[in-house]
Symmetry: C2
Subunit: 298 residues, 2 copies
DNA sequence: TATGATATGCTCAAAGAGAGCATAATTAGG
DNA sequence: CCTAATTATGCTCTCTTTGAGCATATCATA
C-alpha cells in the first residue's frame, strides 16, 4: 500500500486559571496558539510535546491529553508537495506557574458569549440577532437553522449547556460571523486568532468543560492546598457558570476527592476557611465513571 | 520553525453488531485492522477515510469519529528518514450491511475477559493469577501493582467497570501477558493482532462503551426498525453486560429517543413486540449531555 | 459592639435509579 | 381445546441523588 507524506506539527492549548479567570497560553500577542514541529528524536508524541512546552514556556505541564488531529486541505501553511498534519493537545498548568505572565490571555476575550457567571452576557443578544438574519437568508434551510441556533445557544427550553462551546463556534463560523470564516474584521464576534487556532481553542474548552464533570482534572490547575471556595471558583471559571455553594461542597466531600490539611486561610474577608488538598490516591482507587446503564445483577 | 516530515496512515476500527455479537472489520484473517494511506486528494481526514472505507469494504459507514493519533518511535513499519503517524478512527456500520461476511470478527475473540454477559468469564481467574505473579515479581512496586490490577478488573469493591477496557489491555501489555508486548505466543491472553492494532481496537471499544451512555450512537448499528429487546441486546453486546429489561425500557422511553412504527414483530417466540424507530430529530433537539455540576439559578 | 462577609451544617422536597411483582399476548406441545 | 413456556409491557416501592434554601458559626472592620 502507498504511503502519504506530510508535515507534522504540534499545537498546544495550555490552560491555567488565575484570579478566577481561565487563561490560555498564546504567542504573537494573543493571536496564535503555541505550536512547533514534531521532532524525530522523541519517543512519543506526548513526551515530545511535554519537553517542548517545558522549554518554550518554563511552565511544567501537569495533565496532557490529545485533542484532535487536523489535516484539512484548506488549512493555511500548506506547503507545496505535502500537507500539514496538526496534532493538538490540551495541557493543564498549575495556577502558580501560569500567573499573570504575558502570553496568557483570558478565554472569554475570544468567546465573550461563553461566560455566564454574571448572568446571560449582553453580547448574546447581538449573536442571536445575527444568527437569525443568517437563518432567514436561506428560506430552504431556515427552520433547520433556527432550531440549530436555538438548541446550541440554549433557547429551546433546554437551557444553556456549557459543553456545547465547540458547536457554538462552529455555528458562528458557518454563519460567517467570525473573521476566520472570511467575513470582514468589523463583523467578527469575539477576538479572532490565526488560522483555525480559535477553533482548536474551542475544542479544548469544550473538552475540558466536559471532563471536569467525571474526572478529577481540576486539581491540576490548583495549588497544593486550597479552600473549597477557591476550587469552586476555578470550576466556575472553566464552566462559565456559577454553582450552588453548599451543594458543591456536599458533592466534593461525598466523593472524597479532598482531605483537610489542618490549616486555614483567613484572607477571605469572613470566617476563615479550612484548607484542603487533593487525595492523589483516588486516581488509583476509583473509576469515577458513572455508568448510566440500568444494570441487572445476576 | 522547523517542520517534521512523516508518513501518514489511516487506521479504522469499524464496528457492527450481528447476532448479538459485536464485531470488528479486519484484514489478514483477523490479524489486522484495515488501514491505508492518507491520500492528498481528500479535503479532510474524515472524508478521505469515509471514501476509502466505502471502496474497500462496500459498507456505508454511518457514524465516524476520530480515535487517536499515534506516532511512537517504537511502532513497526518505521521507514528510515521519517516516521509513521497513524490516525485512527472509529466507525459504526449498520447491522444489515456488516452481516456474517468474512473479515468481521467478534470483539471478544481478542478480549475474552471483556464479555460479562454470561457472568464473570472463566478466563478472569487465569488473568488475575498471572497479574498477581507479575505484581509480586517486583517487591518495590508490588502494592501499587496489586491495587492497580484490583481496580481495573473490579476487585476493589467498586465492581467491574466496562469502560476500562483500554486500561485493562494496557495493564496486560505492561505485565507482558500479551504477545504484542514480546512475550511468547504460548503466554498470550486473547487473540493477538499485528503491531499495535489490538491496542487501537481496545481504544475503540472503550470509547464506544463510554459514548453509548450519553449519545444516541447505538442507532447507527441498528436497522431502521427494531424491537426494544433487540436494542437492549445490541447495547449489552457492546458493553459486555446484561441490563435490567424493564428499567432499560423506562430509560429509553423517558428519553424519547424512539417512536413506535406501528408494526410488530412476532418472531420472538412469545408475545409479539412493538417495532420502534429512532427519532432522528433528537439530534438537533436536545443536548443529552447530563451536567453533574450543582448549578445555581441566579 | 454592630455589620458585613464568608464558612459550614442541616433539612425538605423532587427527581432518578434499582429491584421486582403482576399481567398480557403469543407459540409449541399434548 | 388446554397448558406450559416465552417474551412483552405496566406498575409499584424503596433508596439515593439532586436542587434549593434556612440557620448558625467565625472571622475582619468600622
Amino acid at each position: 500500500m502507498t504511503i502519504g507524506f506530510a508535515h507534522a506539527e504540534l499545537i498546544a492549548v495550555l490552560v491555567a486559571v488565575t484570579g478566577d479567570e481561565p487563561r490560555v497560553m498564546t504567542i504573537r500577542s494573543g493571536n496564535a496558539l503555541p505550536s512547533g514541529p514534531f521532532e524525530m528524536g522523541h519517543r512519543t508524541l506526548q513526551s515530545g510535546l511535554r519537553e517542548w512546552v517545558q522549554e518554550q514556556t518554563e511552565h511544567p505541564v501537569g495533565y496532557l491529553e490529545q485533542l484532535y488531529t487536523f489535516a484539512d486541505r484548506d488549512r493555511n501553511n500548506d506547503i507545496p508537495g505535502g500537507r500539514t498534519i496538526s496534532i493538538s493537545y490540551l495541557g493543564l498548568v498549575n495556577e502558580q506557574s501560569g500567573a499573570g505572565r504575558p502570553g496568557w490571555h483570558g478565554w472569554y476575550e475570544y468567546f465573550p458569549w461563553e461566560d455566564h457567571r454574571q448572568g446571560r452576557p449582553a453580547v448574546l443578544d447581538e449573536v442571536m440577532a445575527r444568527l437569525r438574519n443568517w437563518a432567514d437568508a436561506d428560506p430552504a434551510r431556515r427552520d433547520h437553522r433556527h432550531r440549530r441556533a436555538d438548541f446550541t445557544f440554549g433557547l429551546d427550553g433546554g437551557g444553556w449547556n456549557e459543553d456545547l462551546a465547540l458547536q457554538r463556534y462552529e455555528l458562528l463560523y458557518e454563519a460567517g460571523l467570525v473573521s476566520e470564516a472570511g467575513c470582514g474584521a468589523e463583523a467578527n464576534l469575539g477576538r479572532a486568532m490565526f488560522a483555525d487556532h480559535r477553533r482548536i481553542l474551542a475544542t479544548g474548552i469544550a473538552r475540558l468543560r466536559a471532563k471536569i464533570k467525571y474526572r478529577p482534572v481540576v486539581f491540576e490547575l490548583m495549588p497544593e492546598s486550597f479552600t473549597l471556595l477557591r476550587l469552586q471558583r476555578t470550576i466556575e471559571a472553566l464552566a462559565g457558570l456559577t454553582l450552588h455553594k453548599q451543594n458543591f461542597r456536599r458533592l466534593i466531600e461525598q466523593q472524597e476527592l479532598v482531605e483537610e490539611t489542618g490549616g486555614t486561610e483567613s484572607e477571605t474577608g469572613g470566617r476563615p476557611a479550612k484548607l484542603f488538598r487533593f487525595r492523589h490516591t483516588v486516581l488509583e482507587e476509583r473509576a469515577l465513571a458513572g455508568t448510566k446503564l440500568p444494570l441487572s445483577r445476576n
